[in-house]
């Protein structure tokens, strides 16, 4: 088994997820109908968390595969290992999900090579079958099995895109960052900080997100806001936390860093000089 094909089981405690639209209803409807799902959305907007929450609500185990550009069919389906003079078959994560009726989640599926994703085709259409060529068997997926793939459309390039034939088999859910009021609640809950502080972070993020046109490749996601919030919960000052969790990860460029630091200073209160009494 490759080290980077990680297999995770859903945790026993319910993951916190606040729906931003009709995505929960779409997911459950598709699940009941046995339709595969394609989840799109920017980095850190909650794609993985959404799938975790759904798996928990539906009471199915979740098997996650982080896709990379050398993910082969064997990594998904399984392979023979040599033991002495004998070969021994070992199931891959996809095969195991089909056998167990789990939710199989392929994270960042565009990273996988296109010839690998073709193995999903018979699973993703009406057949719901997984042919295991090397074993000469075809597994039929139980009704509980569900295939979920996700990717970030912002990263799309000429080289990396889903095949149209793969894409057509999916039902799509498009996630975006939550509306500001909702995002404030999410950040406050996840990080354990006051709503007022969360609101300041979200306001800063709203401004940074408008910079995409100005050449910032990646914008402040809900995830980095939560990281910043958690640093604040640890007792860091808001500006310190924002520098460490928002500015630093976003860019290495000197001018961009300077511009972002300036935005942090303008948007977040200066706690080193107490009680400035801003309106």
């Amino acid at each position: 088994m490759k080290a980077d094909t990680q297999v995770l089981r859903s945790k026993t405690s319910a993951p916190h997820y606040v729906p931003v639209g009709n995505e929960e209803r779409v997911f459950k409807a598709a699940y009941r109908q046995g339709l595969p799902l394609l989840i799109k959305g920017p980095t850190g907007c909650g794609k993985t968390r959404f799938v975790e929450a759904m798996a928990h609500q539906l009471g199915r185990p979740l098997i996650t595969v982080a896709c990379h550009d050398d993910l082969s069919t064997a990594d998904l389906v399984g392979r023979f290992l040599l033991r002495g003079g004998e070969t021994e078959w070992v199931d891959g994560p996809l095969t195991r999900a089909v056998r167990e009726g789990a939710i199989c989640y392929l994270d960042e599926v565009v990273e996988a090579r296109q010839d690998t994703t073709v193995v999903l085709h018979p699973l993703a259409d009406h057949r719901r079958q997984l042919p295991l060529e090397r074993l000469g068997v075809t597994l039929s997926a139980p009704p509980e099995f569900c295939l979920v793939v996700s990717y970030n459309p912002g990263y799309q390039s000429i080289l990396k895109d889903l095949k149209d034939s793969t894409r057509q088999r999916m039902t799509a859910i498009e996630l975006t960052f939550a509306a500001p009021e909702l995002e404030v609640k999410i950040v406050a809950h996840e990080a354990g900080i006051t709503t007022a502080k969360a609101a300041e972070l979200v306001r800063l993020a709203q401004a940074i997100r408008r910079l995409e046109a100005a050449g910032l490749r990646e914008v402040a996601s809900t995830r980095v806001l939560i990281s910043a919030g958690r640093l604040i919960a640890e007792g860091l000052k808001m500006r310190e936390a924002a520098r460490a969790a928002i500015v630093g990860p976003l860019t290495d460029d000197v001018t961009a860093t300077r511009g972002l630091l300036e935005m942090v200073d303008v948007f977040l209160p200066d706690e080193s000089v107490p009680s400035l009494g801003r309106a």
């Binding site: 082969s72 100005a214 935005m263 000089v273």
Partner: protein, 556 residues
């Protein structure tokens, strides 16, 4: 808010803030001391001497006006030479614009939102400003609207609010002109080979030898010192040419009169043997060679250093993560037959040496002398890009050569070595490059053929890449655009069939992108407004060009 003195002197740091509020890329520049803040639609000028709060106020108001489309051309025309109306308009419109971006304003500026909003659009604000009702003058910290400067900008200020800085915008007028001289419809075959398109990949796969017998040597021999993919890429299974190229190999021997190359005649659909004469001409370095700056080497190095280091699968390895069934079966048979089996029974995925040689061809025909964006000539822009690419690739340990080319009819195609393979990348390179002056025409096909010959003879690596830096399509005596495009396409096809990846960069020039794209294929051509953008596209371009040339077996 406490602000140290040295920080307040530099207003450029507000660029991101202004861009965020304006929802488009905006620079912040220091204005004249004492003058009111203003904007020309692309930059906001603020007085660096003012207090931080006043600077922020001015910035927020000006950026908000941009965001709210308050400064479009109709409004600016209406305000031209009418200072009182302009002030009244600013007073009304600023309140509306600020309210529109209320959620984005920093907490320190929330006081600005206390003013009543009286209109719901720029036009309504203008109507209101034209009436006789008393309006308060806008506070000086709001700055001013300078209609003349707004109108001076030819660009479409009022158009899309989000104009990505990355996208280049070819003007429509040029496209229309271009249509008259456009070459016949692109050969989809060449286009596919030129890029990583589905057809190209399919073809690569189709043309690949299905099984290669590894040249591992005699049984029991030592393992090879380094990893190879057995055999030169592209040499196997290449099936491009349908006709003889007129003795390309023989013609390569330099004679006194230069090297002869054939040329493809699109009208008769055949090669003209020994048609062009290529001469390699030394550049006479001038003592007063221009010195010039080399652009963004760090970004380029980052983009290029990972090139050619993709993960690949290797069969019959000592270790690996999958079993090479064929090898196992052979090993078992050998064991049962009583001989010592080969233990290399795994398929490995690994990153290996880059093995890349690059030849850059720099177009120095007269058209490169024309002015480009940013006040420089096309030649200066291309030269800067060529220099930084050559130096960066050299530093990364690739074999790299740089030749300039121009021509004066088919008998005199001149290639001038700026840096040969094997030469160092030192002061001489820069001096030669600085001594180049654009002139004459360009016969692209012959230059590509000679470049390919140089690469295959002197490159010495399995992966070879030909990069053409050109501002436009070939033109020479008896080499009109359609004919030239066909010949260049043919020359590229020859190069690619020999496993040489080809791509083209146009920098600074805003002419003829379409036809170059048709010649090189959509994925193998990029047009950049300036050399600074090179690092953003170069990795992707090089990678896809090399991939399409890597005609090889990939086991899924």
């Amino acid at each position: 808010m406490s602000v140290s003195v040295e920080r307040s002197s530099d207003v450029a740091r507000f660029g991101f803030l202004a861009s965020a509020i304006a929802n488009r890329p905006v620079q912040v520049l220091p204005g004249q001391p004492g003058e009111l803040a203003w904007t020309d639609g692309k930059s906001v000028f603020i007085d660096a001497e003012k207090s931080l709060h006043e600077q922020l106020t001015a910035l927020a108001v000006q950026a908000a006006l941009l965001a709210a489309n308050s400064l479009n051309r109709e409004i600016a025309s209406a305000l031209l030479r009418r200072p009182t109306l302009t002030r009244r308009y600013l007073s009304v419109e600023a309140a509306r614009a600020l309210r529109a971006v209320a959620t984005l304003l920093p907490p320190s500026l929330h006081a600005l939102l206390s003013v009543d909003v009286q209109s719901d659009s720029p036009a309504a604000s203008l109507l209101l400003a034209r009436e006789r009702t008393a309006l308060p003058d806008p506070p000086p910290s709001f700055g001013a609207i300078r209609a003349r400067q707004l109108l001076a900008r030819p660009a479409d200020l009022a158009a899309s609010t989000v104009s990505s800085s990355r996208s280049s915008s070819p003007s429509l007028v040029e496209l229309a002109e271009d249509a008259t001289t456009r070459a016949p419809a692109q050969d989809s075959f060449v286009g596919a080979l030129g890029g990583g398109g589905t057809l190209g990949k399919w073809l690569s796969r189709l043309l690949t030898a299905v099984r290669q017998i590894s040249g591992g040597g005699a049984p029991g021999a030592d393992a090879p010192t380094h990893w190879t993919r057995s055999g030169r890429r592209g040499s196997r299974g290449s099936m491009f040419a349908t006709a003889s190229t007129g003795g390309l190999e023989a013609a390569r021997v330099p004679r006194d009169g230069g090297i002869k190359y054939p040329e493809w005649d699109v009208h008769t659909q055949r090669y003209r043997a020994d048609f062009c004469t290529v001469q390699e001409v030394e550049i006479t370095t001038k003592p007063d060679a221009t010195r010039f700056a080399v652009v963004d080497r760090v970004g380029l190095r980052r983009a290029l250093s990972r090139l050619g280091l993709g993960i690949d699968r290797y069969h019959r390895q000592v270790q690996g993560d999958d079993i090479d069934i064929d090898a196992v079966i052979e090993a078992r048979i050998e064991l049962l037959a009583g001989s010592a089996p080969d233990e290399n029974v795994f398929i490995d995925s690994a990153r290996r040496r880059r093995d890349l040689s690059v030849l850059l061809l720099l177009d120095v025909s007269a058209s490169a002398g024309e002015p480009a964006e940013g006040g420089k000539t096309v030649h200066e822009q291309q030269r800067a890009a060529a220099a930084s690419l050559t130096l960066t690739l050299h530093e990364l340990g690739d074999r790299v050569a740089l030749y300039a080319y121009h021509s004066q009819g088919r008998a005199s195609v001149r290639l001038m070595p700026v840096k040969r393979f094997g030469e160092g990348a030192g002061a001489l390179l820069m001096q030669r490059l600085g001594s180049l002056e654009p002139g004459a025409y360009s016969r692209l096909g012959a230059a590509i053929r000679h470049g390919t010959a140089l690469l295959t003879d002197h490159g010495g690596t399995p992966r070879q890449l030909l990069v053409v830096l050109s501002d436009g399509l070939a033109y020479d005596h008896g080499y009109e655009p359609a004919y030239g495009a066909a010949d260049a396409r043919r020359a590229l096809g020859e190069a690619r069939s020999q496993g040489v990846a080809c791509l083209c960069l146009s920098i600074g020039a805003n002419t003829d992108h379409e036809s170059l794209q048709k010649v090189f294929g959509r994925f193998a051509h990029a047009a950049l407004p300036s050399p600074d953008q090179l690092s953003q596209v170069i990795g992707r371009l090089f990678r896809s060009a090399i991939r399409s040339a890597d005609v090889r077996r990939r086991i899924a």
